[in-house]
Each structure stands twice: as structure tokens, then as C-alpha cells.
């Protein structure tokens, strides 16, 4: 009786070892197996008549059963029957260190979806490593790189034609053709597919021949189209066409099968493992070979563990936000970032201060302008972030979009930290401390008590809004920081009940500043603003300009500049939201096992070192072709 608990716990240990050994999902193991091919030649003489096509059929058999297939022919045909003999070989169970790349940063929970049309849920690498896009986009050079497509062009104002690469295959050997492309775009006719709204302005996607697809538009939105070309992943028609709508939109699509450089290997609660596709089309057609044979992506651990793993070289590339990484880069721990000195990281998006324009006193442009002058952004950059971010340009446009910044407008209307100026603006607009509590009252005499919110637990933002609140208090604006949990934060922000908040969700790096403005000046204004314009800035003039920008061809840089300059003037005059700093493209790597990482250094590859969603197709995939194992 007394021994029972001991026995029980031993039993538990044993049963769990056993259950852990059972892989979560059966995977057909057919890689890495030396295959002997026996070619059996049979000559079949058939007397029956009338079968149109002479057929040579190849039958691939997995087990050692020799098979001869009789095919009805009108003539005597020499027929090949290929029998693959697959000897029983144990699965690869240990990933050799020098062939494996360990990453972290994208996955916030166990991988549960490999469905490329669930962009909020899919596992690290689903789009990029497994499913591929027609083009890649290089934000550093502002270039579209033909990928599954060989070329694409606007043959007329409303017709876009894509030529596909010949010789691209799905990993099951089926060729990738125009049928797949048309099928993928037509999936968007389902309401629950994220590119459903494309069909509001796309009229048809037609197959011209096996390798040409013609898109006809009712109203071409060039910028948005450019974005879709490199972000939409192509799916195989031959495997997906029999699926129901529910399976397509809510299925987990396991195992995923794409055209990409990697195949699904396995996953568990704390990792996602990809294995190299040795028959990847780009090896044959473009001479590209991805260096790591395995990619193991580790579900984001807490900061201290992530830091420990990078230090020990157990994670090669970490895309986590690790506060204090600057001291490690300087400290000789073998950890590098894009730049060896501040700002260390590339800029990935812009953190904006949103103000609720439906509330007083945020409806007053003078008050908003005073806020812009009141905040010491350098303190956020230096103290809160330790210089791993940069202060934002007053226009908010990311450094990769600097060519679109109209310097004249910025010089005239821009702002910088100047508390005296902030006080001056407030005084001029009639804000005055009437009751002597040290804080100003609105011109109509009403009290000002405001809150600024960020989600609880987002420590960098929590510290940042303390700086912002301090800056505001120094110019006598009563602004207090507040930290609701994410749900509460998001509810206040989207429902329009907040006073002030920090947000950056839609300001991400992309092929066009249009995505940035579309988010900043989201229209129409509704009860729930789930995607930008949280402050409910209502100005039809700027809304029209954003649409006009969308309709400007991507090659027409001058045209884009002209529209953007107008937007900037309005933005900096009205200040509906204030850009403060650029959040970094968090990336730190340990060069113990892999070298030739992309960086700002001379001669280093210039690709984005990032595993987040949407970055594999923004050249991160090419980073894998440049990595070199350390001997």
C-alpha cells in the first residue's frame, strides 16, 4: 500500500515516455531513403481497338510488390513500369547540429495550423518555406523578384498578365500551372478567405495557357495588387479542389504540401520542424539551394530563457524582442544584429500615439500639436529601449520609404521635443490652469483628466507611455498611464472609448506606403474601428488622396510622391496621430554554427533576417540560401 504512490509515479513516467515517443501525427516517411529503381519492361500487345491517346503510364509503388499494368493500346507500345523498392529505414531522429537552423520569434503558442489562408494562425514558415508566392518583394531595394511567376505586366490599364515559370513542381511531383493560380485566386470568392475583398475590384482570373494567367479588373488598385502579388501563397488545385468550403477555411491542412524549399517534418507543443525539399524547383531553375537541412522553430519562451538560448547558441536566429540586447552585442558574446551600433535593428513599423478625436480636448488640433512637442522621444529611444529603436520621422514613414518623405513639408510643419513650445501652443489656444491644481483646464473651463493606454505586459510600451505621460504632465496636461489587459485595450481602442493609446499594428513594412496610409486614415468611420484610424479622424480630402494613391501604378514613383506629399501636409497640419518611434525588426543571431548572416556590414547579404509572417517572402527566404555552416 505504501509503495503504491512510488509505483504509480514510476508507471506514469514510463507511460509518458512511451506516449511522448508516439509522434503526434503519423508522418509518411519517404525522404532520405535510397531508392533502387527497377525498370521492368513489358511489351503488351492488345488487340482491342480504339483508345485515342497512346499512353505511357508510370506506376509508382511503395511496397515491394512488382506490378505490371496492362494498358489498352491500339498499337504495340513499349511501356515502362517503374517499381520503387523502399527498404525499411528508421526515421531521422536526431537533427545534426551543423545542418540545423534553430529559430524563434514568430510562434506565440503551439503550432496548430498549416493553412496559408489563415494568416493569423498558421505555423512559422507555412507561407514562404512551404507555400510560395508569385513574386518576392525586396523592401531594401524596392524590387519585385519574380518567383513562381517568371514575369508579370499590365498589358493594358485593366489587364494584368502573369507568365508562370515552367518546371515548378509541387512537392508531390505534380507540375505547378495556371490552373493552380486561377484556383487560388478564385478561392477568394469564399467570404472567409482573407483576400475576399479583392473580388470587389477584380473581374476575372483566366487561364490563357498552362503558363499564362490573365487578370481583368473592373477598377485596378495597383498598389494593393502589388501587395497581393508577393503576399498571397499559391495552393495546389489537385489537392484542394475536392475540399469543402469548411475544410478550406477552417481546416488545419496537415500535412501541408506546397512548392517551397521545405517540407513538413514534425511539430510538437514547443516546436515546429521543417526539412529541406531536395527537389525544390529553384535549385534546378535558379541554382538556389537553401543551406539548412532542418529548420527547428521554437515556440517563444519567456525573455530570460530566449536570451539564455541565444547566448548558449541553442537558438541561431532569434526574432524576439530582447531588452538589453545592445549590451550583449557590444559585450563580445558572439551575438550580432543588423547594425553593430545604434540603432542595431532595421525599422519594421511605426509606433503612433493615437488620440481620440471624438473626445475633448483631443478634438483640438492645437492640443494635439502641443502633445507632439511635449514628448521626449529620445528618452524613450535611449532609456526605455537602450537605443535599439530609432526616433520616427515626423511623417511617420519608415526609413525604407524615405524617398517619399517631402522634406519641405516636414521642415515647415514637423515637430521635435520642445516643452516650452508645447506650453506656448497651449496658452495660445486658451488652455490655462484655472483652479491652481498644476494642470491646465480646457478653454471652456472644463477639467482635463486623460488616460493613455497600452496592453498590460507589453513592458517596453508600458515604460514608454510613462515617459509620454511625464512629458505631458511637465507641460501641465493631466495625463496618466493605464495598463488594461490586451482584450480591454483592444476593446477601448476599436470601440473608441480611449483617450490616448499607442498602436503600430498596420504600419508594417510593405511594398507601398499605401498600406501605411490605408491604416492611418482608415475609412469609413464606424462604431468598431478594427484596423487603423482609431482616433476617428474624419477628413474626406485625405481619404480621397489615399484612394488616389492606391490607383497610382507602383512604377510611377513621381506620381506617388506627389500624392503622398499632399497627404503629409494634411497629416502634419491636423496631427490626427503622432508618430514617435520605429519599432525594430527584432533580430539577433549567434554565429557559432551558421555564418554569413545578412547585415549592414560590407559584403554581407542584404536580406531581411526575419521569420515572422510575411517576411519569408520579403527576402528572408534568400537569407537561407546565403547561410554557411561553420566547419
Amino acid at each position: 500500500m505504501r509503495k503504491l504512490p512510488v509505483f504509480l509515479s514510476l508507471l506514469m513516467v514510463l507511460s509518458l515516455v512511451l506516449s511522448a515517443c508516439a509522434a503526434p501525427t503519423p508522418v509518411v516517411i519517404e525522404k532520405e531513403v535510397p531508392v533502387e529503381k527497377e525498370v521492368v519492361k513489358t511489351i503488351v500487345v492488345e488487340k482491342e481497338k480504339l483508345v485515342e491517346k497512346p499512353v505511357v503510364q508510370t506506376v509508382v509503388v511503395e511496397k515491394e510488390v512488382p506490378v505490371e499494368r496492362v494498358v489498352k493500346e491500339t498499337v504495340v507500345v513499349e511501356k515502362e513500369v517503374v517499381v520503387e523498392v523502399t527498404p525499411e529505414v528508421p526515421t531521422v531522429v536526431t537533427y545534426p547540429r551543423n545542418e540545423t537552423l534553430y529559430t524563434s520569434g514568430k510562434q506565440w503558442g503551439p503550432p496548430t495550423s498549416w493553412n496559408p489562408i489563415q494568416p493569423w494562425a498558421y505555423a512559422m514558415g507555412t507561407i514562404g518555406l512551404c507555400y510560395e508566392t508569385l513574386f518576392l518583394y525586396d523592401p531594401l531595394k524596392n524590387e519585385y523578384i519574380p518567383w513562381l511567376a517568371e514575369s508579370g505586366e499590365w498589358v493594358s490599364d485593366k489587364v494584368y498578365e502573369v507568365k508562370l515559370r515552367e518546371g515548378v513542381t509541387w512537392s508531390d511531383g505534380e507540375p505547378f500551372t495556371a490552373d493552380d493560380v486561377v484556383f487560388t485566386f478564385e478561392l477568394g470568392k469564399m467570404e472567409a478567405v482573407y483576400y475576399h475583398t479583392l473580388w470587389d475590384w477584380l473581374e476575372s482570373a483566366e487561364k490563357v495557357d498552362d503558363y499564362t494567367v490573365k487578370f481583368t479588373f473592373t477598377e485596378p488598385l495597383y498598389q494593393e495588387w502589388g501587395n497581393l502579388l508577393y503576399s498571397m501563397a499559391m495552393v495546389p488545385k489537385h489537392l484542394w479542389e475536392d475540399r469543402t468550403e469548411e475544410e478550406i477555411t477552417t481546416g488545419d491542412n496537415l500535412p501541408p504540401l506546397g512548392t517551397g524549399a521545405y517540407l513538413y517534418e514534425t511539430h510538437s507543443e514547443d516546436r515546429m520542424v521543417w526539412v529541406r525539399n531536395e527537389d525544390w524547383w529553384a535549385t534546378k531553375l535558379l541554382g538556389l539551394k537553401v543551406a539548412p537541412k532542418y529548420i527547428v522553430d521554437i515556440v517563444n519562451p519567456s525573455n530570460n530563457v530566449a536570451l539564455g538560448l541565444v547566448l548558449k547558441g541553442e537558438i541561431d536566429l532569434s526574432n524576439n524582442f530582447l531588452p538589453g540586447i545592445n549590451t550583449l552585442v557590444k559585450g563580445g558574446y558572439g551575438i550580432s544584429t543588423w547594425y553593430p551600433e545604434p540603432p542595431y535593428m532595421l525599422a519594421a513599423n511605426t509606433a503612433f500615439l493615437f488620440m481620440n478625436l471624438t473626445k475633448k480636448p483631443m478634438d483640438d488640433p492645437a492640443f494635439r500639436r502641443a502633445m507632439a512637442y511635449a514628448v521626449d522621444v529620445n528618452q524613450i529611444v535611449n532609456v526605455v529601449y537602450g537605443n535599439i529603436v530609432q526616433a520616427a520621422d515626423p511623417s511617420g514613414l519608415l526609413p525604407v520609404w524615405s524617398q517619399y518623405i517631402d522634406q519641405e513639408v516636414v521642415d515647415e510643419l514637423g515637430f521635435s521635443y520642445d516643452p516650452d513650445k508645447a506650453k506656448e501652443i497651449l496658452a495660445e489656444a486658451g488652455y490655462k490652469d484655472v483652479d491652481g491644481d498644476g494642470f491646465v483646464e480646457a478653454p471652456d473651463g472644463s477639467k482635463i483628466e486623460l488616460k493613455i493606454i497600452v496592453p498590460f505586459g507589453w513592458t517596453d510600451w508600458m515604460e514608454s507611455i510613462k515617459v509620454i505621460a511625464n512629458g505631458a504632465q511637465a507641460v501641465e496636461i493631466n495625463l496618466q498611464p493605464d495598463f488594461p489587459d490586451f482584450g480591454g485595450y483592444w476593446d477601448q481602442l476599436t470601440g473608441g472609448t480611449f483617450d490616448m493609446a499607442i498602436n503600430n499594428f498596420g504600419s508594417n513594412l510593405s511594398n507601398t506606403p499605401w498600406t501605411f496610409y490605408d491604416w492611418l486614415f482608415q475609412t469609413p468611420i464606424t462604431d468598431q474601428m478594427t484596423n487603423g484610424n482609431f482616433g476617428r479622424y474624419d477628413n474626406p480630402e485625405v481619404f480621397d488622396l489615399v484612394v488616389q494613391l492606391d490607383k497610382t501604378p507602383v512604377e510611377d514613383i513621381e506620381g506617388m510622391k506627389e500624392v503622398i506629399s499632399k497627404i503629409q501636409r494634411i497629416q502634419l497640419t491636423d496631427m490626427p496621430a503622432i508618430p514617435f518611434w520605429y519599432n525594430g525588426l527584432w533580430a539577433q543571431w549567434n554565429s557559432t554554427y551558421w555564418t554569413n548572416w545578412p547585415s549592414a556590414a560590407e559584403g554581407a547579404p542584404k536580406y531581411l533576417p526575419c521569420t515572422w509572417n510575411g517576411y519569408w517572402n520579403m527576402t528572408a527566404l534568400l537569407m537561407l540560401t546565403e547561410l554557411k555552416p561553420v566547419e
Partner: protein
Amino acid sequence: MRRYFSRKLLIYALTFFLAVTIDWLIPRFMPGNPVQTMLSRAALRAEAAKVLQSYYIRAFGLDLPLWQQYLNFWKALFHGDFGISIFLFPKPVIRVIMNAVPYDMFLLIPAILLSWIAGNRVGAIAARTKWLDNTVLPLGYILTATPYMWLAIVLAWALGIVLGIFPIAGAYSFALRPHLSWTFIKDLLWHWFLPFASLFLVMFGGWAIGMRNMIIYELEADYSRYLEALGAPQRLIRKYAFRNAMLPQITGLALQLGVIVAGALATEIVFSYPGIGYLILQAVQNQDYFLIQGCFLFIIVGVLLANFAIDIVYILVDPRTRLGMTGEAA
């Protein structure tokens, strides 16, 4: 006997119903909207986000009136359907739990049972051994009073990073694929040791102190004095004291085992050990109604089963309960 159990069962059924109702209700009182939270991660174009949001609110049945949702919830529950997780879309809740909980059991069952056995033994011995009382007891106090998080971080830092003996993350090496071999089992145990040891240490202290105090109390009780006066051997007296002191410890053990399904949040965070605890935290943060419901349902069932087990065990180990029942029946 039958009346005793039928009454108990009725109480359990009522408790279950109420607890599950509260479990269903509370997440829905939280501010915010889970579907919005889910889609906020997608960085979708605004029009697309709107369409998807209305689609998924319908798909999860969140557009129905609350009473309808509540009825549907019970209906689905009786069909064994826990729904689909929103945070871990599109994985069914039951599979999320089934995949994560084994790690917790692997960690917690040995930690709880072994610390319970060791703690009780050492506590009982300490109660009557001066030097042990002076060494183990203060140590036990220190161990239980130490914030668990801190102890675990110190262990991970000292043994994992400074000395580099133990790994600091994962349930097994990131370079391994689960399979049946000594390499894998050794690796699994290697990764298991630190989280286990940290839990064991903290729990051990608690059990030892509890047991020591109970024994001293029992040895001072009238029946012990009486036995002593009768000239019974010390061994016999201690045996009785031990049996009596065990009762509250058994209750404690059963309750600990009952909440195993809740996982060990702090351990999972510090050692990056996969398990349900961290998932529950994330489910709450992401307002994943279905995952929260599912997890807490299992916790409720666990606690009720543990209580039921205590009721039975008490009958076996405590003759007084047996007597009480026969008296009642008579």
C-alpha cells in the same frame, strides 16, 4: 451507506452544474471580443478584417443571444464537444488539452507523490528527533517561504547557464524527434529533472512542516497520554499518532492531484516546459472562451473526483467515519 453516497453524489452534481455555469459565464464578462483579438494578429487589410470578423463571430456562435449560447454549450458538452480554440485556431479544445496535459502529469504526479511521501516521512521523524528538527525544519520553512519563481530561476541560472549541466528549455532536446530509444528517454529525463526538482523542493518543505506539527499535536493528545499512562510502547503510540496525523495530509494530497490539469504555470514559464498552465494563461489573455471553458471543466472534474476519492479513502483509513455512517444508518 447508500444514503451517504447518494447524498454526496447529489451535492457533487449540483456543485458541478454551478461551477461549470460560472466557468462559462466569467470569461464572457471580460471586456473585449475574442474574435477581434484573434484577427488583430493577422495584420489584415481593413475591409478583409471586417468580413472575417463577422464570419468568425457567426462560426463560433457568438452572435446568438447569451441564453442560446448557454444552452448550446450544454448540448455540445453532453456530446463531448468542447468546441474549437480561438487562440489556437483551428485546433479542437479537447486536443489542445490532450496534447499538453501529459507533460504536466509527467512533471506533477511524481513531484507531488514523491514530495508527499518524503515530506511526511521526514516530518514525522523530525517531530521526535531533535537534531533533525533543528536542521530540516528551518530548511523546510525557507523552502516553502521562498517565492517559487525565484527558486526556479536560481536553479535554472546556476545549474543550467553557469554550470551548464542541465538544459534550460523544452521537454526534450530541440534536436530530437520523439522515438523509443535510450538516447531519447535519457534526454527526456534530463530536461525533466530541473523542473521536477524545483517543484519537489518547494512542496517537500510544505508537507514536512505540516506533518511535523501534526505529529507533535497528536503526541500531546489525550489518547496518546492515556496510552503512555497504560505503559504502551513508544512505537505503538507513534503509530497511532502517525495514522491520525495522516488524515489532513491525505486531503491535501488529493486536492493537489485534483488540480493537476491546471498545470504548473510558473514552472512552465521559467523552464519553458510545455504544459497546460501557460496555455490557460494565454487563453485568458486572448479571451479564448472555449479553451478557458475546457480547461476549467477538467479542473472542476478533477477537484470533484479528488473530493470523492477522499470521501472513500476516509472510510477506509478512518474508522470513525465508518462508525458515523453505521450510526446514521441505524
